[in-house]
Symmetry: C2
Subunit: 617 residues, 2 copies
Amino acid sequence: MRICIAQTRVRAAALEQNFAAMRSAIEKAQRDDSDLIVFPEMALPGYFLGDAWERPSFLKRCQDYVERIAALSNNIAVIFGSVGIDANSRNEDGRIRKYNAAFVAQNGTLLHNSSTNLPFWPKTLLPNYREFDDSRHFFDLRKLAIERNVSLENLLKPVALMKRDGSKVVVGIGLCEDAWDEDYSSKPYSILCQNEKRPDLLINLSCSPFTKGKQHKRRQLFSKKSNDLNLPIVYVNAVGSQNIGKTIFSFDGQSGIYSGDSFTPTAEAFVESIETISLTNPSTSPNASGSVASNQTDEVRLALESGLSFIRDEWGLEKVVIGVSGGIDSALSTVLHARVFGEKNITCINLPSKFNSQLTINAARSLATNINCSFASLSIEESVALTLRQLDEARLQGLPISTPLSTLVPENIQARDRGSRLIAGVASALGAIFPCNANKSEMTVGYSTLYGDHAGYLAPLGDLWKADVYDLCHHYNSVVYGREIIPSATLSVVPSAELSAQQDVTRGQGDPLYYPYHDALFRLWVEEWNRYDFESTLEAWENGTLSKILGTAAEQYLSNTFKTRDEFIKDLCRWWNAYVGMGAFKRVQAPPVLALTRRAFGFDHREAIGLHLARGK
Amino acid sequence: MRICIAQTRVRAAALEQNFAAMRSAIEKAQRDDSDLIVFPEMALPGYFLGDAWERPSFLKRCQDYVERIAALSNNIAVIFGSVGIDANSRNEDGRIRKYNAAFVAQNGTLLHNSSTNLPFWPKTLLPNYREFDDSRHFFDLRKLAIERNVSLENLLKPVALMKRDGSKVVVGIGLCEDAWDEDYSSKPYSILCQNEKRPDLLINLSCSPFTKGKQHKRRQLFSKKSNDLNLPIVYVNAVGSQNIGKTIFSFDGQSGIYSGDSFTPTAEAFVESIETISLTNPSTSPNASGSVASNQTDEVRLALESGLSFIRDEWGLEKVVIGVSGGIDSALSTVLHARVFGEKNITCINLPSKFNSQLTINAARSLATNINCSFASLSIEESVALTLRQLDEARLQGLPISTPLSTLVPENIQARDRGSRLIAGVASALGAIFPCNANKSEMTVGYSTLYGDHAGYLAPLGDLWKADVYDLCHHYNSVVYGREIIPSATLSVVPSAELSAQQDVTRGQGDPLYYPYHDALFRLWVEEWNRYDFESTLEAWENGTLSKILGTAAEQYLSNTFKTRDEFIKDLCRWWNAYVGMGAFKRVQAPPVLALTRRAFGFDHREAIGLHLARGK
């Protein structure tokens, strides 16, 4: 049996484009004598559509396109994901009933699902954690079983398809989460396999975003399932970029056939691919790679570059202005954007005040030279002085502005002057966008100025801890380019905002964070599946387990720095409150983040502002 | 039977504060000889906690406080909402199993729920629409029924409580959505009433945010249920403010007893109240009001002022700087803040450029005079000129900045100069916050400048259409104050950004929106339960139904303005694409919105950036 695995690029709500991609995939599969072509989950409408599912007119167009796909299924069986409508029933929100469903077409027409009496196969398990919101929009097979007062086994059965040679093949169809059944009391694939008509193969249609380590988990999970059920599993995942406003996800594909312990990939990660493969004798196509990349840092590099290039395409972006400080974050952002947008589309601007060292100013210029992009230097001194003069004027007009000003006031004036006045002004004049170069460490505790360095069209580094930023910079220099693209001064200078005389890098004065410790701490609060809070962190410190939990680099810092409970608590309280207080407040107004870990800020890190501030006792 | 209805102010995740409020309520109820005290849903932990539910240490503390509440239940039965933990089972996300639950305590101890074998009564129906995210965090009784392979009737039974006189009373307990069962196949209260041990009364614990018209709907729904089931329903809802980052909800309480068609309120809306009432002979307490306010505009005023004062308290805010343009939005924002924060804490600053008319400058000054708050005028001319000079300088350094600049460039420079340089600078120097004065019409289509007038700690008007803003301003002048607080010039001037010579209010030149038409149009896209999109709007225009759908004011504009299909489409396409494109992009970085309608931007309007752009064919 020949199966075409259509790892298509799925665009959110772009029915016409998705249909066109699917049509040409079907035509290729027909030319390649495929018996069956399988598309990803929600291949037609896209998956992360927010509340656009509530537009009846969009749903109607989805149905029209489903019919048009079905009409193409001559001499081939077509399985694809789309939204299934049951116009005669209501969802629990009172709107028209919708399913996340697989459609099956053959001989130019849709197959009817006699088990449910619907023209599609609904998803059974709806993920409702992380970035997933399925049960907000979709009804599912479990709810249908309750409503109809029947068992799930009655509704979930394999389907028989005709091969080109006229013989039949029985397939068990599931959608994404249906395979990730570990924590559910219902196991869809087991139910399918227990059916009297045992399937010859299983199919999983996915729309599963990339996050670090997920492919490893997928390999384990699908191999185990294939072994347990003693059947091959055809896994088809989308590529492309879909966002939920605050968080932008990249889809890595990684489609292929799982058969026992072996996985035969049919495509490169993050790349559209329409590849026919023999189920009985699968062989990897020349372009396919079994894993995302050679190592974890390169995996992240590939995900960043792929994600950013998807975004560039989706949003029709062309030119980029980057405020380069000579520091590590803006350097990485510049390299990334240069690789994706091309260096001729990059403009670096350096915006010194009297507090910026020649060291970092030179590093900024070197970076632009190394990358071969245009560069300008514009001072913020005159404007900052003007703003301070106007504060004096306001005082003279009677406003109770104290003098001298708190040091934070001129610091933030500088940051906003760079971000909102000059970078935004230059970008606007060039018809360009500009990124926010904040990393995840800074975003966690709001160590940035709103409307200043917090501003930008996207925070491409917003899901990278400070150590990840360094790793990637070294990786670009040593592996990707094999030469010094990011200046050594940038790599060696102490991380610093350079906004006051107290942040003088030439005297080694920098950020108030010791990243090897604080990153590990923040990760406990943000990324752990069972997240730590102020109290449990303190408890771990008190019972002596914290240093073990945080790892070696943090261990030393912990024992060297905090001699008393009060000292430990003071630091803990400062950063915990920054995380849940001002950090949360600033994240509400942060640019979108490109998701890389299993917990990026935004839709997968839902939070209230000012929740659970600690009082440090 | 005497029931104490504890309409407490519930603070998100503030266990200690919530516990203290509950303890003093129980003490009052005991003094008032109550047989039973009922608290809101999630009265102990708060409800909108984002993903803080994933912190095991927080859950453990919730359990500790549940025990502490139970210990207080001497001579009284206590029913309260909190998170129910089943540490031996998993949620479907693999985390510890949690329920949104009611706890029942008597004689100093928690009652055991023998139907479920859990020490609490779980919620059956979990809302998963609008701002609600219950099934992300909580297991429910329907899932438990499937898992245990029993019917819901086995798990959902009334509970018998002891009154002070030693007799028994049987109560059917439900949580919020359990009563809103219209679109669910399971009806919890009906199941409770069909039990062999028929309840004497029903109780509904709610944590139900205010939105326009909701109290009307509650009255209908609970009266109908009371009639249908022929039992009184004790309704207890929280007051206070809880946010989900982007969207801030106010809780209006409106607790009381539904008995057939009659509703006996026990409290003022939005006000904490611990009131004991006789179930058999209920009478309204002197402070209680049956409806939110006298009319719709006053209802919104009350909700705005209450919501804002909750936020002020929650976040510990004190001083406010407001950029006043002389226009209607900043005027309303100033009045609102003055009423909530006190006029002595308000500073108005007017920030003219050469494009601002004396008309609006004078109106801004009059407003500050009328309110009696401090005022300063600071020009942006010098800074804007400096920025333009620096763009020239960048051009001389080789950046391909075209000359002359597009008109949008200096317009946005002005807006950002006001917001991010001066208003933010003055606020920072005064230790104050500053609001974003954008209304819902502007927010819908992104008619504002990022880091300019889009900036602020909160958008208090972000859920008010332009017409609502006018209504409220007139209401303040004519009803609330009975004199001209908001200057008549502000009320009569054409709405305009005054950012160019083409936006000259003295020549009647203003915004590109005709609000009576465009607001009605935007409402179709944003607020309709079954939302319109580009295609269905066009279809309605084509088949002649649009003007009827949009109402009278829009009808005239429609017929006068668009003579051809192309003219109509051009305008439609412009604003639709602004809504789903740049508008969505800007909303990601918008300040939090105070929710007033049933669809505020943010968590109840989940959206992807750049989705479904129309091509205007």
